[in-house]
């Protein structure tokens, strides 16, 4: 099946087709070419997708974009494995993937640290905007009731939405790029102007110097992007080859200019925010009496006391009702009333979520007590605009701050102290500006202290250097150690000694008691019998031939293995006495000598000496009575 081109797919959107040219991409031939190339690459990757996950990840990282997220990997592998898909189910995922690939290339191109050409910056930001529009138009095809194509089946729509979510371009980077582009270009254009401080009131000394250097470089035509030396990743050169002046490196100058731009934008927000509330305060002061009366119950026939007892939501409803009746009515936000500050924007604003409202309710008690601010309808809309802009600038701050931190960390790793300090000089005011922007982000009245529980603490202290942070950490540890020692020292030594003595006494008593029990047991238990005596037949082999010996108490029960009858009585007595001598040495007191059948042959004991047994019946049949070995 021949694949459908993106422009054709986008043309399937009837509303879009009727209102304007089918695809915004068509306005940009370069982008169309880029997309066609991306589509070809995507087709190649999907066709060659290996079965092994590890190999697939390697291929995707190499051919599409580095370090894809797990859900992106799974989605791409799923698309590749769905080989039987046809129509939109086949083509739309490939288009999403191609657009994502183009967006990745454009993001990389835009955030190139060597890019200092205003025209190129502007064009790339516009390209990003175009790609986002194209993605949104594709996503619109999947929304029922918004011109969804009849070619997309319902079950395919669910699948395609999942694919679209997983492969969506990185909106934070794109949004930050679009937000940053125009003011960045503007700053570069006014860099050499005489009244630069008048145009950019937020300038610090370092930033002014940076602008001067930028203007000189632009005038001399130095370091054009194409001719610039190839930078290492993120634009930081090798430590050994780093320029002596950090500002002479275009990559560092770029990030510093970004910081400068972000601060300019943030200061614009803060200035507008403060100006808005200053005007509102003046307006409110002029008409406080009449507005107060109307707002607090005169029109509703309630007393001021009753009006004060109302909840913030009641107040807002009441004021909104007034406005409907009276064109001159104003929105009154009383900071002294908990939640009142948030009430008006919640009623008017359309983009505020319930969470935001909760946040406002939490922050309101921290507002300056007794101060009232009155906003007209125009001021409310302006407030909403500034707040929305501040939220965009907050995202921009996050992106730029992360880039700056990365470059600063790399400089620190390469022990480029001068560069680190130079970058820190830009970072400190940036963090300080962001801390001030939080008032606008939280939609708070200027001057109201941030609620303690909701304070967004910047991840860096503006006024501290690396050495100060290190010294502080070391001193904290030392202080903790000293506090522990002081705590130990606070306990009286006598008390410690007494406790130790008490422990020793308890253990000593335990040993004493147990020892007594052990002695008692030793004496109470009956004495065990003495160990059995031991005698081996081989010990008597020089005297008499024995086959077995058995100690029975102190009696040696021995079995003769050799001849006995040929010996005379005297010889037999000598043999048994010789055996008795040896046995006595082993502790025996008597001997009982038997033949192989167990018949007694002789006896010996210490009292009576040897006794030879005379057999009356010589024809006895031998019968063993002792064990054989």
């Amino acid at each position: 099946m021949a694949s459908t081109k993106t422009s054709e797919l986008l043309a399937m959107h009837p509303a879009a087709a009727a209102a304007e040219p089918p695809s915004p991409l068509e306005r940009e031939p370069a982008l169309v070419a880029m997309l066609a190339e991306a589509e070809a690459r995507v087709d190649g990757v999907l066709d060659d997708m290996p079965e092994a996950f590890v190999d697939a990840r390697r291929l995707i990282g190499r051919e599409l974009w580095p370090l894809p997220r797990p859900e992106e990997l799974q989605t791409i592998i799923k698309i590749a494995s769905d080989k039987k898909a046809q129509g939109p189910r086949r083509d739309l995922p490939r288009r999403f993937l191609a657009l994502r690939l183009v967006s990745e290339q454009l993001i990389r191109a835009y955030w190139d640290p060597m890019l200092l050409d205003p025209g190129a910056i502007w064009c790339r930001a516009e390209d990003l905007r175009t790609v986002v529009e194209a993605v949104e138009r594709l996503e619109a095809l999947l929304e029922p009731g918004q011109g969804a194509s009849s070619d997309v089946a319902f079950e395919d729509r669910v699948y395609l939405k999942t694919v679209a979510r997983a492969l969506a371009p990185r909106r934070d980077l794109i949004g930050a790029a679009i937000t940053l582009a125009h003011p960045f270009v503007e700053i570069m254009e006014v860099a050499g102007a005489d009244d630069v401080r008048g145009r950019i009131p937020s300038l610090t000394h370092e930033e002014a110097e940076l602008l001067r250097l930028t203007a000189v470089c632009a005038a001399d035509g130095e370091l054009p992007p194409a001719a610039a030396p190839e930078p290492a990743e993120d634009g930081v050169g090798e430590g050994s080859e780093a320029p002596a002046d950090p500002a002479s490196d275009p990559a560092r100058r770029h990030i510093a200019l970004e910081v400068l731009t972000v601060r300019w934008l943030i200061h614009g927000d803060i200035a507008e925010w403060e100006e808005l509330f200053r005007e509102a305060g003046q307006t409110h002061a002029a008409g406080a009496h009449d507005a107060g009366e109307r707002a607090h119950g005169a029109a509703h026939g309630t007393s001021p006391a009753q009006a004060e007892a109302r909840t913030p939501a009641d107040s807002v409803d009441m004021i909104a009702g007034d406005e409907a009746q009276d064109d001159d009515a104003v929105w009154v936000i009383d900071d002294a009333a908990p939640g009142a500050e948030s009430a008006a924007p919640v009623t008017v604003g359309e983009s505020r979520s319930e969470d935001d409202a909760d946040e406002e309710t939490a922050s309101a008690p921290a507002a300056a007590p007794g101060r009232s601010v009155a906003l007209t309808q125009e001021q409310i809309e302006l407030r909403h605009q500034i707040h929305t802009r501040a939220l965009q600038h907050q995202i921009l701050y996050g992106v730029v701050s992360e880039r700056l931190q990365k470059i600063q960390d790399e400089a620190l790793l390469m022990r480029q102290k001068e560069t680190t300090e130079w970058l820190a000089a830009f970072r400190r005011p940036l963090v300080a500006s962001y801390a001030r922007l939080l008032t606008v982000v939280r939609d708070q009245v200027p001057g109201a202290p941030a609620p303690e529980a909701r304070t967004d603490v910047p991840d860096d202290e503006p006024g501290e250097t690396f050495e100060q942070i290190f010294e502080k950490a070391v001193s904290d540890v030392e202080e903790k150690k000293a506090a522990d020692e002081a705590e130990k020292a606070a306990v009286p030594k006598r008390k410690l000694r007494r406790a130790r003595m008490k422990r020793l006494a308890v253990m000593g008593a335990a040993i004493l008691v147990l020892g007594s029990v052990a002695v008692g047991v030793h004496f109470l238990l009956p004495k065990p019998p003495p160990d059995a005596l031991v005698f081996s037949p081989s010990e008597a082999r020089n005297v008499i031939s024995l086959s077995e010996t058995h100690p029975i108490g102190t009696m040696l029960y021995a079995k003769l293995s050799g001849q006995w009858d040929p010996f005379s009585i005297e010889e037999r007595q000598r043999e048994i006495e010789s055996l008795a001598r040896i046995a006595t040495e082993h502790g025996f007191t008597s001997i009982y000598l038997v033949d192989e059948s167990g018949e007694p042959l002789a006896q010996w004991d210490q009292t009576n000496g040897p006794k030879i047994v005379q057999h009356e019946a010589p024809s006895k049949v031998p019968m063993p009575s002792v064990p054989r070995p």
Binding site: A532, T554, S590
Partner: protein
């Protein structure tokens, strides 16, 4: 300190355990000795004589099978006794043939696990080393002394 306490506890527990084990072995072997003594007594009542040492062969005592006590129903299940004995057999047996009538006997049993536990089953005054002393019943042999097991040992 802890080591000292553990040592004292060991000094208490180990002798108690060893004594209990010895006592159990002695009690078990004494019970077996009483059964054997009873069998000898029944045999003597029926036959008018005790099993001989080797002759005559028809009534010679076999220390492995306990014949002729086991053959004629005087002692049932002899292997239950012999498997508890050292070398699985009666250590020594003799019927002092005074007058050729086998009217006396003595047998020695040694415990398999603890060779200090030795039991004498006897009806004789001819036990070697104690000639002239009448032994009739079951006794423990402890070194050179022979002590009675208890009231159950009397009889014959």
């Amino acid at each position: 300190m802890v080591v000292a306490i553990i040592g004292v506890l060991s000094a208490i527990c180990i002798p108690i355990l060893a004594t209990a084990l010895l006592k159990a072995n002695r009690t078990a072997l004494a019970a077996d000795g009483r059964s054997l003594y009873s069998a000898f007594s029944k045999y003597y009542v029926d036959q008018g004589t005790f099993p001989s040492t080797s002759t005559p062969v028809s009534r010679a005592f076999n220390p492995d099978t306990l014949a002729p006590l086991s053959n004629n129903g005087y002692y049932s299940n002899p292997s239950a006794l012999t498997r508890k004995l050292l070398s699985n057999r009666v250590t020594a047996y003799d019927s002092p043939n005074t007058g050729g009538s086998d009217t006396q006997y003595w047998a020695v049993l040694t415990h398999k696990q603890d060779s200090r536990v030795v039991v004498l089953v006897a009806n004789t005054d001819q036990y070697p080393g104690h000639i002239g002393t009448q032994y009739d019943g079951v006794y423990f042999i402890q070194g050179s002394s022979i002590v009675t097991v208890g009231p159950a040992s009397a009889g014959g």
